[in-house]
Point group: C2
Chain length 357, copies 2
Amino acid sequence: MTRKRHATATDVARLAGVSQSAVSRAFTPGASIAEETRARVAEAARQLGYRPNAIARSLTTRRSRIIGVAASYLQNHFYPDVLEALSRGLQARGYQMLLFMPDAGRHADPQLQEVLAWRVDALILASTTLSSALADQCQAAGIPVLLFNRTSRAPSVSSVTGENLRGGRLIAEFLVASGHRRLGFLAGIENSSTSRDRESGFCGWLQENGHPPPLREVGLYQFEEAAAAARRLLARPDRPDAIFCGNDHMATAVAEVARHEFGLRIPRDLSLVGFDDTGPARWPSFSLTSFSQPVQPMVDATVALVCEMIEDPATPTRHEVVRGELVVRGSARMPPEGCVSLAEQLVWRPVRNDITG
Amino acid sequence: MTRKRHATATDVARLAGVSQSAVSRAFTPGASIAEETRARVAEAARQLGYRPNAIARSLTTRRSRIIGVAASYLQNHFYPDVLEALSRGLQARGYQMLLFMPDAGRHADPQLQEVLAWRVDALILASTTLSSALADQCQAAGIPVLLFNRTSRAPSVSSVTGENLRGGRLIAEFLVASGHRRLGFLAGIENSSTSRDRESGFCGWLQENGHPPPLREVGLYQFEEAAAAARRLLARPDRPDAIFCGNDHMATAVAEVARHEFGLRIPRDLSLVGFDDTGPARWPSFSLTSFSQPVQPMVDATVALVCEMIEDPATPTRHEVVRGELVVRGSARMPPEGCVSLAEQLVWRPVRNDITG
DNA sequence: CTGAAAGCGCTTACAG
DNA sequence: CTGAAAGCGCTTACAG
């Protein structure tokens, strides 16, 4: 049994009694073709089960209408949600998604070469970065690159992120306002921009307001690593009474360890705050207070920006920051004031004397 | 700023002082080319940042080395895990993954047309099916189709699944052995083969052994739907004291509702059993007893089978069923006997007089 | 509105 | 081992 050949435009042309160019036009929206011709072609195509070959089309148009997407950390619920929204958004704009999954904590470089061979129209890297060599290569080849939930040290790569810095600051203020003084911070991947920004927001606010730096552990944005870090943190004689976890995924790990291994009650014995506001963190069992990174707005911004970059290669580098809220639930002691209802949620909006905050 | 052109084989040939064919050979493993020529080409390619264009290659070879992958229900942790394993497996065999996400509970048909335009070498559909019209179209075009965690009513489409039927039967036996008599079943998508098979295994065993059928609700494999179903089930005067949930994802929803809305203790007031053995279900808070669908073996079988189908179009239809175990944890009352340790886990291996079971 | 023809960037017999 | 040439299946000026 040999592999069957797909019908080609030439086959259809022969059957419809028109030229091959006419067949092509019949499948090109806006092409100049008589309605009757189009109908004849459509009928012939139907009979033969013809569909234009996207590979051949891409070769001639030099636009693949494929976008390379990198994603890692899919155990963190945030990313499956992002992937679904991204798939929908790109599909709606007529793009396909070539997905690859770099190893967690590493550059996307190795697999990227394979993806670039496909002459993707753009690259979206979620929770990964690329080496600056690769960034240069993409730049030289004119391939737009967009980082999602990361920024690059090379400032010329555009990005879409949440409010990592403001979130970190607000969480510090929130925990202090709740009366906590023995704070802990659980870092994600240490050289990821999100972890660094959240930490520097958190520690920055503490320092500026005369508080000592938090105890610190590293959870690498992974469940098991975070659980191990929690064990170290909670076993200390001076264990923290509040922990800011670099994301919700790690916060759930910490909650599990705190309750089931240390017998702690949350938030009575330990306050927990996360980042992302997704997935299990919202379930009653965790009811996590968390700074939100709203998936749909972030993905909308990503899709819009990436399309703009494709359409106009001269689009300047942009770093879009999508607004979030400190969503207040039950995992952290509440401050005496500042919690307001917003869209059926409780969020924290501290009243301040100063303008900046 | 106009879009830069990628260097082509012809550019490289010119620089290296060889023919364009030589350049092609230099990038074709196993092609007959002098080592010195290859080196000259490699150097020229490096200078120009040349990478063979996969689109052009696919057009001539008529093999895209792209596999179309459909996945839905990414909120269910099982699928992100599957996606990661699949990505790794396909990558290792030199395939790229064109991902699309059909709407939950629907056929993959609409987006499939777009994917087929890319002349994918095969199609893997996870948690979806395709219409029989589409199945025929793929068959006619010689495109291998593989269903993952589903079977098709059209028996000619190959599949890889877990032991849905045996799992359902075993869970019935397990719950009855634990002394439960008021059973409930929470269905997933009713016309999905997994849900039907699990249910018929469960109900089949009950019937064969003289037990009444379980109370029944539908959760559509979605968290919120499952929570709503749990509310209906648990509000009944004759509420079940054990529920077999069509998968772990729904089981966690039921656990949340049972505990936080009905104040039930698990397993004292209610036993819960799931299916999949993944994700949050394993966390101490849920500690779900669940029939496993081991991701890696299932994905290994999928990758092996799909490659075989690509290599040899005459590969006959196959329905691979990957062995699972009833993993015993704390969410369901334990039967007096039959639990054995296996690979650091407790699994249920009932002792039987009869041979079949 | 339509067709003939060039060209997209490769691979692969074929002849040497 | 190497090069010239055909061909993969389209799109798109160009001329009519």
